[in-house]
Subunit: 341 residues, 2 copies
């Protein structure tokens, strides 16, 4: 077997032209069955395989799409990528992965790299500190489909797939209220202004309070760093209040876990003294002794829909590319941490 057989090799062997071989291989209508069979047979013998690079250069379509996420080693983004990959590979696409580590410069680098690798589209979860949006214009100028997922920025002509953070905040809070909680606190994360995910959760929280005639109390909203330490600090702050809360809706499972650890140290029982609900449905939430209720963001779905939106964009002629903004409903997973006895 030669290292690499081309259509010319098989053409030579059969004493026909490369064009005929190409047609036969692609099952073109105007080709005799005889030559088709012959070509297929010798192709097999020579171990021929199509060189997608050549095809890509010719057609201008690489059949690769770029996916940019903050980190890949997180359950959330890993699941999204899984969804994207599964949806796209069956259409003959390959997924090229990049990470930004929440750095805008890396985001720009990655986009440029993907662009000149001639990807057929870019799916991007926007870095939280994105300030310069001109890079996105460059993508659009090249007529490369661009789709935001999970985290978006408002840019005309860019479709997106996100979850309904407002609803997530609402159902979590409503659930706690229905459990009989009168003073629901809320932990929100610092540092995500530009993608305002946490803003939506907060608004949902407020709306739920309003709908159930509970006055909003600013003191019960604690903005902290999104990690275990932040959660501990939040608890310390909350417990100093005159009016202490009887429930917490945290916009992140990690902050919540830190908080729960702190509550335990202080002998405060979850869920009876303090009912809690987190956000993201991180894998660890269901493994704890007191499993944590959490709002699931359906990452697999996000990935699948993002892929589908991309495929739709492809069908459209370049001029009438309509913007599509999918907002998926999150789902509240109720576990022990929010069920008062």
């Amino acid at each position: 077997m030669k290292e690499k057989a081309t259509i010319y090799d098989i053409a030579k062997r059969l004493n026909i032209s490369a064009a005929t071989v190409s047609r036969a291989l692609n099952d073109h209508s105007k080709t005799s069955e005889k030559t088709k069979k012959l070509v297929l047979k010798t192709a097999e013998e020579l171990g021929y395989e199509q060189n997608r690079l050549a095809l890509a250069l010719k057609s201008g379509k690489s059949k690769n799409i770029g996916v940019i996420v903050p980190r890949i080693d997180s359950n959330f983004f890993g699941s999204i990528i899984r969804g994207i990959e599964e949806e796209l590979q069956q259409k003959g696409y390959h997924v090229m992965i990049c990470q930004t580590h929440e750095k805008e410069e890396k985001q720009i680098e990655n986009i440029n790299a993907l662009l000149n690798a001639q990807v057929d589209g870019i799916l991007l979860s926007v870095t939280k500190n994105t300030e310069d949006t001109s890079i996105f214009d460059r993508v659009l100028q090249k007529h490369t489909p661009l789709i935001f997922f999970d985290r978006k920025i408002e840019i005309k002509g860019v479709s997106s797939v996100t979850i309904d953070d407002f609803k997530g905040g609402y159902i979590a809070t409503e659930h706690l209220i229905k459990q009989g909680c009168k003073h629901v606190a809320h932990l929100t994360a610092l540092g995500y202004q530009s993608v305002n995910i946490y803003q939506g959760r907060l608004e949902g929280y407020k709306q739920a309070l309003k709908d159930y005639d509970i006055p909003f109390n600013e003191d019960l909203v604690i903005p902290v760093k999104n990690d275990l330490e932040g959660g501990k600090l939040a608890i310390e702050t909350l417990l100093k209040l005159k009016q202490q809360p009887d429930a917490i809706f945290s916009s992140s499972d990690f902050m919540l876990l830190g908080g729960i650890q702190e509550l335990k140290l202080r002998g405060i029982n979850v869920p009876n003294d303090m009912a809690v609900v987190g956000f993201s449905n991180e894998p660890f939430t269901k493994f704890l002794e007191t499993p944590i209720s959490s709002v699931d963001q359906c990452p697999l779905e996000i990935g699948k829909y993002a892929a589908q939106v991309f495929l739709e964009q492809l069908d459209d002629p370049k001029t009438i590319k309509i913007e599509k903004n999918l907002i998926l409903p999150p789902e509240l997973i109720i576990r022990q941490s929010s069920l008062k006895n």
Copy 2:
């Protein structure tokens, strides 16, 4: 800005030949400084970007490498991919991701797809039920570097990066023995024969017992399915024994967690009645009320080394590609679950 500027566009504008433009862009020695500057300037103006596909077709190097894993939405594989990506992107490579879902047919499909996408190399964590190895020969015949990581198969000429499972089993067991445990049970996983990862851990366990003059007791080795349910079953089996264990070394954190839950139901205290150590250092292990000791497999390192081995293979002339088998030392992370009071 035109949709896509090529070297011809800038050549035309400057009334010079495309060849000169190419040379100027590549900082070729035999080009006047004047034209270089001129070319660079107009390239900038026209928004020129190199088309990597054309370069790839010409050079035969796509600067893409394929990575195949069972699943991407697992902390372990996610971390490995992160390591690979970070190491390779700075050398100008892109990572293309595929999943096998532990199906051999998908593994073959993915390899073929990557091959005719002309990747410059394939990094693969072998599917556990791999039987037909002829696909790997095909890769080698094409002189495409192939590197196994985490899970390997013995194939001449294929390098690999794995962890020392024997050592992992050894240090975990030794640690339990040093804690004063006399009857260390071992949970091993069913269904991974072809990649014999679990075999190594078992051997390490045996060797540790031997080194500390503890007789090996076959009854204490429980093979179960690698999930929570399997762990529960294992505990049931163990507790029926005349000689009950006082410690467990589990070859998987998930089996162990199931076991711990079962122990708790039965009022058996961890670590005092039963000291336990898991394997993989899954994220949840450190979040539990009784954090679990576990053998960390350094996935990030695996990824980085796999990438490095790939880069080394590249330097070698095709003929003298030497096989390199890196075996990384795992690390025991000691937490409360194995520390007797």
